[in-house]
């Protein structure tokens, strides 16, 4: 009796849930992400997080993950030579979110084949920056920036500044 009474609504719910689930899973996973042109100058890619919730008005740690394209390296935050451009993360002052400070990973040693005696301090592969953000209450779509300069073993790309989009929710 219960199945007769509840079977049809239950079946309808299951069908709705199934179709919703299928619709979610069929959506383009990158539909909401900025499309980056597949150019040879796209050396660094921001990975995540896309959204963070932090307590409003006090510094909150946020770990930002990046990926450097294969066979490329970028200077660390503390390159060993003055003329090299360091990797720097920044947050625009008008975004409602302030960057209290950022802790960068230590660079790894790297030598160019043309000059094995000179050690460079670089990042390769994936790396993370520990940022401490101070958010005002509310939802802020922050367009933070990462400036870097990339090279491979024989040549260098011009310095570049990419946008790091983060939805910061101050509670």
């Amino acid at each position: 009796m219960a199945l007769e009474r509840w079977g049809h609504p239950l079946l309808i719910c299951v069908l709705i849930a199934g179709s919703t689930s299928a619709a979610i899973s069929q959506q383009d996973p990158l539909a909401g992400l900025p499309r980056q042109a597949a150019t040879k100058t796209q050396a660094v890619e921001y990975l995540y997080p896309e959204q963070v919730s932090v307590p409003a008005g006090k510094p909150a740690p946020v770990t930002l993950h990046f990926r450097i394209q294969q066979n490329l390296h970028i200077n660390s935050h503390t390159p060993r030579a003055e003329y090299l451009i360091p990797t720097v993360f920044s947050v625009p002052e008008t975004s409602g979110v302030k960057l209290a400070n950022a802790v960068y990973p230590a660079g790894t040693d790297f030598t160019l084949p043309a000059d094995p005696d000179q050690k460079l301090s670089v990042y390769t592969g994936e790396f993370a920056i520990q940022a401490r953000l101070i958010s005002s209450p509310g939802n802020h779509l922050v367009e933070a920036k990462l400036r870097y300069q990339a090279c491979d073993q024989t040549q260098c790309l011009p310095p570049k500044t990419i946008t790091v989009p983060i939805d910061v929710i101050g509670k």
Partner: protein, 246 residues
């Protein structure tokens, strides 16, 4: 015997079914409707949650797979080109006349390529932030000393890649100060011009530094080299531009 057994089983079923149905009905009648509704709603929510989780998990999996595919598609490997090869993303100039240009030196004097007509040239595009450029500059200084008396002229063109606008006085002043410092530190005795970025289209893109263009005395590009190789390679290209060793 078989018939009797079948009848027996039927009888048993008919006998056992009736009490069970009655018992079930008794339970149904005795169970409060609110409790039953709660159970059904609970099951429904459980199913909904399961589907939602499955959909989310599938979406996350596909998102990660798509990100990996995107990263793979935007692979940014810089492929060192052999001398004379087509620059990645650019146009090979080898065998063609070197495009003419007029740029300023650090003192603001205008210098044209045409003013070096009849000379074998090495046009070296470099940048102050470029490690390989820093390595090869002493080689260039040595090569200018060695081959300058034989007619070679090396021209350094700073290509900072910062897309400064013509009216950005502060930006240009900053660039020129950094270039002047580099020139002084590296004892660059050959002409150094600024704003190589303005020649990107004519000179095959200039996507990466250093880029060296070797021009013979007739103004024809005999070799183009992206990235640093070795002093010996540069010397071989210079000799080719000078018409030696062919």
């Amino acid at each position: 015997m078989a018939l009797r057994l079948r009848l027996s089983v039927t009888a048993h079923i008919s006998v056992t079914n009736a009490p069970v149905r009655r018992s079930y009905n008794r339970e149904e009648r005795s169970e409060p409707p609110v409790k039953r509704n709660t159970i059904v709603i609970g099951i429904t929510f459980l199913i909904l949650a399961t589907f939602a989780w499955a959909g989310w998990a599938n979406w996350m999996y596909r998102k990660q797979a798509a990100e990996r595919a995107l990263a793979s598609a935007s692979h940014a490997e810089l492929i060192p080109t052999a001398p004379g090869d087509v620059p990645a993303g650019g146009t090979s100039l080898t065998g063609k006349p070197a495009p003419n240009f007029t740029l300023e030196d650090l003192s603001g004097n205008k210098v044209s390529l045409s003013s070096y007509k009849g000379k074998p040239l090495l046009i070296n595009f470099w940048a102050t932030w470029c490690g390989p450029c820093k390595i090869e500059t002493p080689w260039l200084v040595d090569l200018q000393k060695e081959y300058g008396p034989k007619g070679l002229q090396i021209i350094g063109i700073s290509t900072e890649g910062d897309d400064l606008k013509p009216d950005d006085k502060e930006g240009w002043a900053h660039d020129k100060a950094a270039i002047a410092k580099f020139v002084k530190e590296e004892h660059m005795q050959y002409p150094v011009l600024v704003n190589g970025d303005s020649l990107a289209t004519e000179y095959g893109g200039l996507d990466a530094m250093p880029t060296s263009v070797y021009v013979d005395k007739d103004g024809k590009v005999v070799a183009m080299q992206l990235g640093i190789s070795s002093k010996d390679d540069m010397e071989a290209h210079i000799r080719k531009a000078m018409g030696e060793g062919q």
